[in-house]
Symmetry: C2
Subunit: 309 residues, 2 copies
């Protein structure tokens, strides 16, 4: 089995070492080192590969993405006609739950305000806010979104969910399709975006949708930067209809130094770390799927390129 | 039914209003206003009452504390020989879980470090820490401690628990009694204190116990300030054996302006807000118990004054 890597922004040595251990009979190449001179491989392990990668590797039986979102591949001019396999969980759901729970609790319990008074050496209590006033709306109810919705329910918040197709989650009021989006937004105070990025969801969080949220809304975006119209979010925060945001993803990453998000005291910025790929779990999952394909078995996680995820 | 209030640091009007609505046939007095001139009452609603309160109210059938911890009453020179009833949950468990989960996640996911780099306008990722390296040890497995242990388990952390008597919690390694305390400490990285304050637990978190924790330990104290020997905690942080602490409770509250805790960048201070008494839930619970006692029924939450909680 011949495997080639084409992973942008990734130190490849540890991946090579772990894959070699998991698949001792396979041979490995790093396309980003040898480029078009790389011999044809059977399988590719990729992160944001360029068009020339797929053009120069015509024998691939499948490409495995080392992340959950495949929008960078589907945005290529010529999407390869082979199975594209996205990473399924591999420790990402637990991290995503950490991140969202922390952001929700920090906002709901006003820990930023307590930190400010504590830094001034001030002992100052605040009247507690009510959980019933903080309905949490999860946009996107895939594996990650469903998990997040369930955990927020366990924290006793009212939880709503919206997805493209109808979903059922115990204790969560679910909405689906474009026709029910407004009803979902109108009852949401904390909006958590966990959508896949598709032409339909690009720029979905804009002036119109933000203004439909309950007053004093809060946005947590852990999906893709392109879901949000940056200027509309800044205007909604300026108008105080939106109280603030916690953003982990941005249209351009790293977020450019001159971007207005850096300067807003109401916006918490993290550098796309909400759920990072955990190498050991990912290698185990991908190596297992390669062996399954070699045995002629079907595997899960193959992207529907029409749907976009 | 005659009810008198003696609640320090509490605005009494809203309590009076809610109790009047719940018990329309009762009459109410505020002992802190009328002191020894207050006519004898049947029941008392108290928070940190002075000795003179109980001395001047010899007809009380029971005293209801509007918090979970009754250590202030049990520390009086002459503890009244009537049932002392502590507040049971009334929304406090959910708040405690919020607080502890936030503190654990903030530390584990290094959000303070991300905040510092973001404030400098810097996009800087960090290598993720491993959940398996963060065993969480919950000291005290009463209603609040058990609830916290279960939720931290749901976040996929290894969870240990220690209590005075043997307890069983699904998925949690439990220890009990003085004989098993060292074994518990030796396997704990994040120590969460939810003990009742008794002569046995006073100053339990000291140089000896802190040094038994795993290196890079972290302390979250949401019980009582007297559980911790302040100077020992500061020294353990200074030596870097303890990485830091999140403290909600202190030996003297408000924490005096000159206290060294305010100046330590490794210590996060909040003004005793981890779980505040929610008036509506508390009035419903206490009024229900008063009516039950009047009907001659037994009630839960009566403090064992020998045990101290």
């Amino acid at each position: 089995m011949k495997i080639t890597f084409c992973c942008a922004d990734t130190r490849i040595e540890p991946w090579l070492r772990d894959f070699s251990a998991a698949l001792p009979d396979a041979t490995f190449t790093d396309w980003l080192t040898t480029r078009e001179a790389t011999p044809p491989a059977d399988y590719a392990v990729v992160w944001a590969p360029p068009q020339t990668f797929f053009d120069s590797q015509p024998s691939l039986k499948a490409a495995f993405n080392i992340g959950a979102g495949v929008n960078a591949i589907l945005a290529l001019p010529r999407v390869p006609v082979i199975p594209l396999v996205r990473l399924e969980d591999a420790g990402m759901a637990a991290q995503m739950v950490d991140y969202v729970a922390h952001a929700v609790l920090r906002h709901f319990r006003e820990f930023d305000a307590f930190e400010t008074t504590a830094k001034a050496g001030e002992w100052k209590k605040r009247r507690p806010l009510k959980r019933v006033d903080f309905p949490i709306g999860v946009l996107g109810l895939g594996a990650l979104g469903s998990h997040v919705a369930k955990v927020m329910k366990a924290f006793d918040f009212p939880v709503l969910g919206w997805s493209n197709s109808r979903k059922h989650i115990e204790g969560v009021r679910t909405f689906h399709g474009a026709g029910q989006l407004d009803a979902f937004l109108a009852q949401t105070r904390v909006l958590v975006c966990l959508l896949p990025l598709t032409p339909e969801t690009d720029s979905l969080i804009n002036a119109a949708t933000l203004n439909k949220l309950l007053p004093g809304a809060y946005l947590i975006n852990v999906a893709r930067g392109a879901h949000v119209v940056d200027a509309d979010l800044l205007a909604a925060i300026e108008s105080a209809h939106v109280a603030g945001a916690t953003l982990d993803v941005f249209r351009t990453e790293p977020l450019p130094p001159e971007h207005a998000f850096w300067k807003s005291p109401k916006i918490t910025i993290t550098p796309h770390i909400s759920a990072v790929t955990l190498r050991e779990e990912s290698v185990e999952q991908i190596a297992g799927k390669m062996l399954a394909l070699e045995r002629g078995e079907t595997i899960s996680g193959v992207v529907n390129t029409n749907r976009g995820y």
